[in-house]
Symmetry: C2
Subunit: 133 residues, 2 copies
């Protein structure tokens, strides 16, 4: 499914900017920050503003098109892969690595069956191979 189709499917009106951000998220599964997205797109869309990146990502997140990651203290990070998976963050170099080891499907917590779970995110913290203590 391409960027345009995804936006339409989620009732998001396409625009040059929104399509560019969506396209970026579909080709860069690097958990980018707003700044990284802005820096990458800015040359090809010279009038682009960071405000629009914020607006767009907030909209995308509300519509479930991207995931917000709270794994990084400094900046918000976003993930275009909305399937259930975890993330590892290296304490030393800051690398973020996808962890695909989780079961999909609905979740009911034994201890709290009354909670409606829309999303699950698991953050692993430690040292990557390169930084290995």
């Amino acid at each position: 499914m391409d960027a345009l189709e995804i936006l339409i499917k989620h009732d998001i009106k396409p625009s040059v900017q929104r399509l560019a951000v969506m396209e970026y998220m579909l080709t860069h599964f690097t958990h980018p920050t707003v700044d990284e997205i802005y820096s990458s797109l800015s040359p090809s869309i010279p009038t682009l503003s960071k405000t629009t990146i914020y607006n767009t990502l907030n909209l995308f997140e509300e519509q479930g098109v991207v995931l917000y990651l709270g794994i990084d203290k400094k900046n918000a990070r976003f993930d275009g892969n909305t399937s259930r998976h975890g993330h590892f963050r290296c304490k030393k170099c800051g690398a973020i690595i996808d962890i695909f080891n989780e079961k999909p499907g609905n979740v009911v917590l034994k201890s709290h069956p009354e909670l409606i779970i829309d999303d699950i995110q698991t953050y692993y913290t430690g040292y990557c191979n390169a930084c290995n203590k």
Copy 2:
């Protein structure tokens, strides 16, 4: 184990402020923000500054005495319970609930056996009983 013992065990020099923060974390498992801790302690320690709360919590986190929670977009939250457990956040009312459903012990990821995992945190997002969609 009381506040003083915990600090000593982790090579943290005790001070009035550090003891007060530690004591607070041991009696309020509410995932407080810096502001909440400051507001609570400030009356009894009138000279207390927010900078000291930041310093103290950052130190505590480095020493593994508290956990940093990235579950809340707006503020850093901290947890005095460092045993492995998850957290649920209600999208509507913002309530954060502890989820004790995880197995303790060392973890080696099948997909990334080379990663050294120091900490695992799982964040559940959805609607609590009261806010139930």
